[in-house]
């Protein structure tokens, strides 16, 4: 590398460092806050480092919110499963077969991606009220999957369109039924796209707030977003606990970014640009 190149590299690195410090400061602040007591958090000055490392908030959160954390996990996992069950066959059919309605279906899914969740949530509340689906896991999970079903079908279809046709042809020649072709050939070959979709659907189910707020009231279970929301009412008294719970809420995104970064980046790009 030339001297000039090395210098610009150094400057670029410095610029990136500054950008990262600014962009990640809010997260750093929550980590610090989660180790502080309420008294320290609501004092007269902000602490850039915790005065004393205390795990009291975490133990409080685990003992009081453990059930809610498990509920949130169940919601996230089931949202991912439901999204895949609905999206995979449809994506396969729209990629593999020619229907008269293919273009219309893809257009419809693009529009569905645009719909504001708050509109769906308000109506679903009244519909669920009549169907007795309020305050139930199935009701909430069906609603939560709405964040990702259109995205999932479009991403999976875009991926499946790229699968090598000769392999599929060979399977068909070997006498595989449509169903077997889908299960034994298409699904294993689509592994990476399936992971991408599952990761996004899980994160949406895990982090959903609108549907939990509207479709659950005085329910026996609640996701942690609702718990954090209820801390707002008592902002003064439990800020430390709330901060520790925020860390729990952030954890899956951070972990998945480390172990599944490839799939997340692919989802961001394929899902939006190649819809």
């Amino acid at each position: 590398m030339t001297r000039h190149g090395r210098l610009t590299g150094l400057l670029a690195g410095l610029g990136a460092l500054v950008a990262l410090v600014i962009m990640l400061f809010p997260l750093y602040a929550v980590v610090v806050a989660s180790f502080e007591s309420n008294y320290q958090l609501l004092g007269t000055s902000y602490n850039f480092l915790p005065p004393k490392l205390s795990f009291a908030n975490y133990s409080a959160v685990i003992s009081q919110q453990g059930g809610h954390i498990v509920s949130t996990l169940v919601i996230g996992v089931c949202t991912a499963i439901l999204t895949l069950v609905v999206a995979l066959p449809a994506a396969h059919a729209l990629a593999r077969y020619r229907f008269r309605v293919t273009a219309a279906a893809v257009g419809g899914l693009l529009i569905a991606q645009i719909l504001p969740s708050v509109v769906i949530a308000n109506s679903l509340f009244l519909i669920y009220h009549k169907l007795g689906l309020l305050n139930t896991y199935p009701g909430l999970i069906v609603a939560d999957a709405s964040y990702n079903v259109p995205f999932a079908i479009l991403v999976l279809r875009a991926f499946m369109l790229g699968l090598p046709t000769d392999v599929l042809q060979a399977a068909r020649v070997d006498g595989a039924t449509e169903w077997k072709l889908f299960l034994r050939v298409v699904l294993p070959m689509s592994r990476s796209a399936i992971i991408t979709v599952a990761v996004f659907a899980f994160l949406q189910g895990w982090g959903d707030f609108i549907f939990a707020l509207t479709l659950l009231s005085g329910s026996t279970f609640e996701p942690i977003t609702l718990s954090i929301y209820s801390y707002i009412g008592e902002f003064q008294s439990n800020l430390g606990d709330a901060m520790a719970l925020c860390i729990v809420g952030i954890l899956p995104a951070a972990v998945l970014l480390v172990v599944a970064q490839r799939y997340i980046a692919a989802g961001l790009t394929v899902g939006s640009v190649k819809g």
């Binding site: 460092l17 007269t44 529009i111 889908f182 970014l257 640009v273």
Partner: protein, 322 residues
């Protein structure tokens, strides 16, 4: 960062049918096979009808009905003409929420785009640990939005708030600012939070578009004596333009429906100063129990979102043809 991990073979050029489709057409698919294939679509069709079509149709009906907490149990309420639309649009909070939704969206997109593009250009340069930097920048985009709102509520608090502390340490202010308690500042604070959370999306997408700019083109332009700015405007921008269009349309769609962030930070307050359409529609429906007016407001929000639909479909026209 992983490039688009997916397609193993390039899609065929426009107009050339896929090979297995050719045989299909030639061989005349039998009727029952065609039905068997349609079975794959049934779960998705049922889902879309129940979760997207039904709520939207129901919302539309509701917006023309005279609702009250008593009518919530019955399927239909008396017809009310357009009175819900009149009543809700007459409220000054609604009018300012609609205007605010647009200014909020425009300001968010403006800053998200320029900051995101600058970061994408930066990350496109070679420097140590750039892979780590590129993955860390994604985090804000992946957080639950309510938590983002809650975090910024904490950062912007008046006493012992990080933003106030930093500004005081830099001697930019002498007294803490009531960021979340004064109307003008609260709007600004929510805007900052929204810009923050959207930057990663713009950065990642624009960065991946920059990767598609052929190095030879830039080198050729350099040999022709084009400076860095000219290369950016004349070579890079035209190539990444399609992605810029998609990112802005999606950014518009994301931003007009912002809900969790506002609830987490300000709940629309103080004095309705951060009330934008989505939280206001929720408020009308679930705090004032005006289901009909809430539905009317939702229909308006829906119409605004649909402005983006033809543009978005046009940008994705290739995927419709395949």
């Amino acid at each position: 960062m992983a490039r688009i991990a997916a397609p193993t073979s390039r899609p065929p050029a426009r107009g050339t049918p896929r090979s297995d489709r050719v045989t299909e057409v030639a061989g005349r698919v039998r009727l029952w096979t065609r039905y068997a294939r349609a079975v794959f679509l049934i779960p998705a069709l049922a889902y879309v009808l129940f979760v997207f079509v039904l709520p939207i149709v129901y919302n539309l009906i509701l917006s023309f009905e005279q609702t009250s907490p008593a009518t919530i149990a019955s399927l239909f309420a008396p017809f009310a003409g357009i009175s819900n639309y009149k009543d809700i649009l007459d409220q000054s909070t609604t009018q300012s929420a609609i205007v605010r939704t647009f200014t909020f969206t425009a300001a968010s997109l403006f800053f998200q785009f320029f900051i995101g593009f600058a970061l994408a250009l930066l990350f496109n340069m070679k420097f140590p640990l750039r892979r780590v930097a590129r993955s860390l920048i994604i985090i804000p985009w992946l957080l639950p939005l309510l938590i983002t709102g809650f975090i910024f509520r904490f950062l912007f608090q008046t006493e012992a708030g990080a933003v106030n502390q930093i500004l005081q340490d830099l001697h930019l202010i002498s007294q803490p600012v009531g960021f979340l308690t004064s109307p003008g500042w609260a709007y600004f604070a929510v805007l900052v939070a929204n810009i923050w959370l959207g930057i990663p999306f713009f950065t990642v997408l624009l960065y991946s578009a920059l990767q598609d700019v052929p190095a030879e083109l830039k080198e050729a332009a350099m040999l022709d004596g084009a400076n860095a700015w000219q290369r950016l405007i004349r070579v890079t921008l035209p190539i990444v333009r399609p992605v810029i269009e998609v990112v802005i349309v999606l950014g518009f769609v994301f931003t007009i429906k912002v809900f969790d962030l506002v609830i987490g930070m300000t709940e629309g307050g103080p004095a309705n100063s951060t009330e934008i359409m989505a939280p206001w529609a929720y408020n009308v429906t679930f705090q004032q129990f005006e289901y009909g007016q809430g539905a009317a407001l939702n229909t308006i929000l829906l119409l605004i979102a649909f402005v983006a639909a033809p543009v978005y479909i046009w940008l994705n026209r290739e995927s419709l043809r395949r």
